[in-house]
Each structure stands twice: as C-alpha cells, then as structure tokens.
Amino acid sequence: MMENSMISEEYKNRVGEEWEVGVYDIEKGMIRQFVQAVADPNPRWQNEAPPGFILTVGGEQFGQLLGKVFPAGLLHGSTELECYQPVRAGDKIKVTVKLADIRERLSARTAFVTFDITYINQGGEMVARCRQKMVGYDSGGQA
C-alpha cells in the first residue's frame, strides 16, 4: 500500500466541494421501518419521524461516497446532529453533502475527514444538519 492510501487521490484536493446526495420522498413506511429497526415503541412516531431518522435519509448514497473516499477502511468518529423541525411523512427532503475538511496523520496512518450534511424540505427550509467525522485507515492499520 502507498503511505497515503487512507484517502483516494481523487478526493484529496476536493475539500470545500459539495454534492447533492439525492431528493427523497418521506413515506410512512420508511418511518415505520426506522422505528422497527431501533425497536422504539413510542406511538408518537406515525407520521412524525424520530429525530435520528434523518441520519438514514440518503444514507446508502452517502455510504457509497464514503466507499470511494476511503479505499482501505474507515471508522465512524462522531455525529453532530441539529434538528430544526420535525420530519413528517409527505415531506420531500433534499440531502447535500460537503467535504468540509481532511486532516491526514501520516505517522498514525489515519485520516480524519469531516462531512457536513444538510437536509432541506420541499419549502426550502433546513430541517436538520449533521456533521459526520470519519476516520480512514490503510490496510497496514487496524480498526
């Protein structure tokens, strides 16, 4: 492995760039699937989604981006979620991700990468935003 393979060459010089992850129609079934996965029996979550739900909107596409940025391996460092209004069935949420920061620690063979994700509803209002910090490592490192 190259010494600096924690992050793919393609993304190293793209700090500050923003991508649209997708636009998602929030359905009642998605909310139900989420609360079943968490095993949260609160009857409040029917049309209204629990706060953590938004983290899963566009999650698969964000994961695909992570796979491209970190060719070897990664760990989740932290999540910072801010919720400004509840997400409900019938909402249409546009998810955008910005590659906010990359810090490589070549001595430790790790790279700390910050992504800022915004969630905008059909009315153009920001319903939530989230900062996700990921830690990439190369195959010489261990999780």
């Binding site: 996965a37 932290s78 919720c83």
Partner: protein, 143 residues
C-alpha cells in the same frame, strides 16, 4: 407513553431516566436495511474477524438512535430534541446490553424557549462508555 415532564420539574445535575437496549444480530440486519449502512463489519462474521474483531459489531448510528429514543422517551410528546452529538469511542456487540444514561448539565431560557443541556452516554456490560455525547432539548413549561 409516560407523564409529560416540564422545565420546572428538572434540576441541573438531575439524572435522565435510563434506557436499556439489547440489539440482536437480527436487529442489526433491520438497521442495515433501514439506514442503508451495508458495511460488512455489521453482519459478516468472517469479515469482522478479518478486521481483528471477535465478531460483528453494532452500528454506531444505531447506538446514536438509541440515545435519541432515550431522550425522546424522557422529554415526552411536548418536548423536542434540538441537538445530539455522539462520539464513537468503543464497541458494542449484539446480544449485549447497551445502557443509555445522562444528566442535565444546564437549564436556561433563550427567546422564550426553555432549554436543557445534557451529557449523555451509552455503556456496555463492562461499564465502558462506548458512545459519549451532548444533547440539547426544549421542554414545555408551566406558566
């Protein structure tokens, strides 16, 4: 679910009602489907072992969602979760209890809204804090 808690009911230093979760491997598969996080470390034992782990591990964001449930259970239908941060510091294995705990660190009123800042964490059965974070919630008040 439970009786509504009000801003006046809470003191700085007060504890948040504990929540114990015990995710199974089946729940991790449900979470993979709901969240779109298909990283094999969460469902493929051989893959997890190739990364130096004894078996599959619980998704960090599922634990974050448990902390979300812990908070929304406590603040009730009239409360809202404004901010939740989570640092992923340790590992949770399926089949083991994850205990969500927290304390109120500060209460304050800004622009007529009644806020509580809290410190929150999830513990594994060894008593290790595997996820630590902070939360800000808004509670209703008695006038």
């Amino acid at each position: 679910m439970t009786e509504q808690i009000y801003y006046e009911d809470v003191a700085e230093g007060g504890e948040i009602t504990m929540l114990v979760k015990e995710p199974t491997t089946r729940q991790l598969v449900r979470w993979a489907g709901a969240s779109g996080d298909y990283y094999q470390i969460h469902y493929d034992k051989d893959f997890a072992q190739s990364k130096g782990l004894s078996g599959v591990i619980v998704h960090g964001q599922l634990v974050a969602s448990f902390l979300g449930q812990f908070l929304t259970d406590w603040i009730g239908d009239k409360g809202s979760l404004r901010r939740l941060t989570c640092s992923y510091r340790g590992i949770n294995f399926p089949g083991e209890a994850i205990t969500c705990q927290g304390k109120v660190t500060k209460k304050y009123i800004t622009d007529g809204e009644h806020f509580l800042d809290c410190t929150v964490w999830a513990e594994n059965p060894k008593g290790e804090k595997t996820v630590t974070g902070k939360a800000t919630v808004i509670l209703p008040f008695k006038d």
